[in-house]
Amino acid sequence: MNLSLHPLIMLLVFPGGLFLLASGLVFQWADRKLMARFQNRVGPRFMQPLADVVKLLAKEEIIPQGVHRGLFIALPVFALASALTAALYVPLFGINPSFSFRGDLVVTIYLLSVLTISLGLAGANSIDRFSLVGATRTMTQLFSYEAPFMLALIEPALVAQSWQISKINAFAGETTWLILAQPIGFVVALVGLMGKLELPPFDAPEAETEIVAGALTEYSGRGFALFRLGKDIELVIGLTLVAAFYLGGIANLLEFVLKTGGLLLVMALLQTAFARLRIDQTVGLWWRVGALMGLVQLLAIMVGVYIRQNMW
């Protein structure tokens, strides 16, 4: 589906900007509600995420002693901005990406990591001990899931012979769903997304029973709200990417809702089913299993592509 709107509107209202923020909140609500229902709880009301954001924005932001003030204020903005920018290259809501160029997949993956790096920096910026431990864990986790997650996103690109998200999306829509051809890549991508978003069982960087809120312990008010929003948007983008690459592409709004919703359901189930992994177990799992699985899949694809090019 193609949309011809003024670029500014596309950037600020739809599909980027306001609409994206709103959809981030909806996805956060759906995630929390699904998890609550799986855990036999009632869960939040529909407006709860919005109410949280409004409340946090209205609160006084306390800048603790011992931090670099500029960084403390800038990092949440930077994190949210990078997430919002990444959304421009992704086929959100089944609409063709607002902006697109050759190699935008690499830029998107990079922009998605900026949020995590900002999170780690925000923790390291503080002198709070929980923040420091949280920042160390955030960075450690970044280095563990990033490579397998990247591999899992690059594999569809290899098959589609393009580094452009919109082209991969179109390719995935034409062929059989890639989840059937590359099941390992799909699993790695979905679980990698959970690691990226620090969702259970990969929530060691913000394990509340150990280090309170991890890197974000010292954040209150506006900064905290922006980081939360950034994560919500990253959830939307991540689900869209995985759905577009592995679940046969996203061509219209209905497909978007059904496919990302289905993925969210699976993710909420996975979040409920496991106990929290220790950070060393997370790293071990990713490098011993995740990266290996990603490489095996990559090898299989390379052999497949080679055979196809030389035999036919």
Binding site: G66, I127, D203, T272, A275, R276, R278, Q281
Partner: protein, 394 residues
């Protein structure tokens, strides 16, 4: 802002206010990266002066005060106190009263262990288990409410007996609940024995050998998980445990996983013994008469609380108020194990090791003032100490 740097140690403080703690306590874990190299504990944030308060109240009033030492094992405190006073007065509670006491004890154990199961799972980030076990715990809370009208402080005990009778209708109404609980607990046992991630978080973590358990003075399920077979219900039966005995539950491993298994098996054992009591509840009066003034003397009273051995020392000077009531709660005995076991483990294991002993902070807090700036070191005799105590509290 200059950052004060005392030495190169990196200490992670947990508490007195921390999301992992449901009650205030202060723990300092010195970490090297993620590895804990030293641990210390500081208690005393919720000292309530109950022991002193007991000296100001009559024997009957004290029964209610003692019940309020703990909000989870309330009945067992009242039982320990009542049994001690009965021993001093030379009265024995009638058989039916003793059996009903045991019913409350075991129901309390079920609800306490299920509460612990949820809390410990939550500390490990396994919130689904937390939510489900607390939901199922409501069944046993409903049973307690049906029996006594209260969910937390049942106040079932009287000096010389119990307040509430258990009718055959109540027993019929409790049966389906017990069946359901048993089914659920077997399911939880399957989960903790089968879930790979849960096992990786608990097996081999905080392992305590039998010798360590003995040396550190561990009690209750914490000790029994280290193959230290010690249970007051079996070694020195009270209430009706002689007529309706429970089996000793021990495990070999001594790690966190063993503590989960022992507690769940104990809960199943409680359900079994409850069924036994319900089938053969003895017929008798509910209370025996206890005089208002208790004859002078001293006694100790030991019971098995859900967390381990609960110890009461009661002294009477022949009046209508106790001379001294000393309570030693099981959590106090188990703290040493936490501090010892913490060293060498990862910071992420600390909440689970901490909750592995099922700590109860408010019931073990004692007030100790250390006068560090004393000019001359004094050696106080027992009489001096006693006089100082009387003067201090006057």
């Amino acid at each position: 802002m200059p950052i004060e740097k005392s030495d190169n140690r990196f200490i992670v403080p947990i508490g007195p206010q921390h999301p992992a703690l449901k009650e205030p306590g202060h723990f300092e874990f010195t970490v090297d990266g993620e590895i804990v190299t030293a641990a210390s504990v500081r208690l005393g944030y919720v000292h309530r002066g109950i022991e002193k308060g007991a000296e100001e109240r009559t024997w009957t009033q004290n029964l209610y005060l003692m019940e309020r030492i703990c909000g989870i094992c309330s009945h067992i405190h009242a039982t320990a106190f009542a049994q001690g006073v009965e021993k001093l007065a030379g009265v024995e509670a009638p058989p039916r009263a003793r059996a009903i006491r045991q019913v409350f004890c075991e129901l309390e154990r079920i609800h306490s262990h299920m509460l612990w199961l949820g809390v410990a799972a939550h500390e490990g980030g396994f919130d689904a288990m937390f939510m489900y076990s607390w939901r199922d715990r409501e069944i046993v809370m409903d049973m307690l409410e049906m029996l006594s009208g209260n969910r937390v402080h049942y106040s079932a005990n009287l000096l010389g007996g119990v307040k509430y009778d258990i009718t055959p209708e109540m027993i019929t109404r409790m049966q389906p609940g017990l069946d359901y609980l048993e089914e659920r607990l077997r399911h939880y046992l399957e989960v903790i024995n089968g879930d790979e991630i849960f096992i990786s978080r608990t097996r081999g973590i905080g392992t305590m050998t039998r010798e360590q358990a003995q040396r550190l003075g561990a009690v209750g399920p914490t000790a029994r998980a280290s193959n230290y077979a010690y249970d007051v219900r079996i070694d020195a039966p009270y209430a009706a445990y002689a007529e309706f005995p429970v089996r000793m539950i021990v495990a070999e491993e001594g790690d966190l996983h063993a503590r989960f298994v022992v507690r769940i098996l104990e809960t199943l054992e409680s359900i079994r013994v409850l069924r036994e009591i319900y089938a053969a509840l003895p017929e008798s009066e509910l209370t025996a008469r206890v005089p208002r003034r208790i004859p002078a003397g001293e006694t100790i009273s030991r019971v098995e609380a859900p967390r381990g051995e609960l110890f009461y020392f009661i002294a009477s000077s022949g009046g209508d108020k106790p001379e001294r009531v000393r309570v030693r709660t099981p959590s106090l005995c188990n703290w040493g194990t936490v501090i010892t076991l913490a060293v060498g483990h990862k910071l992420a294991d600390m909440p689970m090791i901490l909750s592995g002993i099922d700590p109860c902070f408010s019931c073990n807090d004692r007030l100790v003032t250390v006068a560090r700036n004393q000019q001359t070191p004094l050696i106080w005799s027992w009489a001096d100490l006693r006089n100082h105590g009387i003067e201090y509290y006057r």
